[in-house]
Amino acid sequence: MELIDLSADVLIIGGGLAGTNAAMGAAEKGASVLVADKGNINRSGDIGGGVDHFLAFLNEGQEWDTQNAFLDYVEMIGRGTGHLSIIESVYCAELPDAIERMARIGNPLTQADGSFYRTQSMGQPGTYWINFNGKKLKPCLGKAVRKLGCTVLDKVMMVDLLTHQDSVVGGIGFHIRSGSFYILHTKATVIATGNTNRLYENPRINPFNTWLCPFDTGDGQIMALNAGAALTNMEYMRMTLLPKGFAAPGFNALVGMGGRFLNSLGEYYMEKHHPMGNRAPRYEVVYFTLEEIRKGHGPIYIDCRHLNENDLIHLETSLGYDKDTLPDYFEQRKEDLRTKPVEITVSEGMQAGPTEVTGSGIKIDKNSAATVPGLFACGDASDHNRCVHGAITGGYKAGKSAATYAKSLTYGDGAPKSIIREEIDRFMKPLHRPSGYPYRQIEDAIRKIMAEHVGSMRTEGSLKCGLEKLQRIESYLDEMKATNFHELMRAHETRSILSVGKVMATTALFRTESRNKPYHHRLDFPGTDNTNWCGLVVFRKDGDRLSCSFEPTT
């Protein structure tokens, strides 16, 4: 096996939307940068194939279009799941530069005439969504990162962080085709690996048919946790509504343009259940949709037949921006937004934050720093960035902060070259077992346990049972067999998925109330208790000891 040692100021793990912006932030501050991604940064991550929305206030004159009004909105739908001061620093302060940067690299957020096309949904007080054509956003970012001189390690999966005297000093990983093993020595490390999307049983059969990128498997959160970093908001099981057979995004566009949720009785049920109707916060729409299904009012549809011609044309065009193949899917399934409602259903669960504006994952401060020196986080892997807007703004912020930290260190390359061959061999073991279980067999069991015991209706009993079963399946991790480096990657992903599941069950057990139902719905504590639980559950691992604590946000 080839061993490759590289040194730089900053390592970015994950080259999706957040990671590429982090690389730009660090490089534009003068740092030398390594970027490692399981895929190719030109097309990897949640928006590799395209995207059509970015959440922003633009100060265009309306009273809801200011920073203060935006933060009021965060407080209203976030319900204590984020610190406003951190959101102000990692998102609000970075917003004007982020919008300008996307134009500078060649994929502006504007229409051809230079204007912003804005729509409203998900509890927003005004039109916070900018609808745009982001099909070239990742290729443009990949090109910009390479042009800045960053060393890009495509198809390299990072499996662990290097630590020295309680600081993070780089990471190790392997090339998923050649098996070359990389030892990356850096002064600062930024984790940008997204959320955890193959965590729950998938209602569309195939576990890779997910809303968000199925190759985001919580690797970064678990590497950070093992290095001593705290995680927060891990108890929330995120869900959304998606076309029945294809987990393609489109909810924002459909509802933003005026789509109405319809049950099989012909009732527009959200208009009955919530004062904001179809434009209620996402968790409210999912909650009431689950209720409709439980009452026997399914199947559920989204109805766009009433939209005017201009809106329909815009919708049909922009749906392909968010998911390139969705128009093909509608055509092959013989769906037609103009003439009949489209059947939708509740998605798989995932670890992806409680709202569009408050996240879940590695705990960060106002400078995007984790709780361990030398470690930073951004995008969906961090607890105060969410979605496209959070990844672009928070990614750049994390990159800048990591570069500043790296430059402040007085010692040489920062990383002790102490990695020993036995540690590397540990990560390669699944390749060398004469026999064993394929990763998929273990992973399917994890998803089943998560869905049945750690799902949208939780109790102390179900969560304890889930944890016990997850611990039982953990004993089989060392019996996984991989026949090539691709399967080795998937086997490491399975390890991360299981660890995230355990953290989710443990933190869900700790929070003895319900918040943002159905994302954290304790049937034995159905009420929201703002006196005792308005804040973050902080999860830490100290050696073998796991601990939960509570951090208020008000």
């Binding site: 097309r43 890779f208 048919n209």
Partner: protein, 70 residues
């Protein structure tokens, strides 16, 4: 199992193999030329990146029956 490759148009450049985020597309030798094939069809996320980036327009997306019928 999208994507489908049209061998008459494909020049074997390998870009689809390089950019596929699923690591699902691989190249193989066939009659003295390099051709793409879908090694892990179940892991395709249908993101459409391969079709968008193919310089020859040699990739089509065909959804499988489970996705079209459930």
């Amino acid at each position: 199992m999208p994507p489908t490759f049209y061998m008459k148009k494909c020049t074997g450049c390998g870009l689809c193999d390089s950019i596929c985020p699923a690591d699902a597309i691989y190249m193989k030798e066939f009659e003295d030329t390099s051709v793409p094939y879908l090694k892990y069809p179940d892991e395709c996320w249908h993101c459409g990146s391969c079709r968008q980036d193919c310089p020859e327009g040699a990739i089509d997306i065909r959804f499988p029956p489970d996705m079209l019928c459930i």
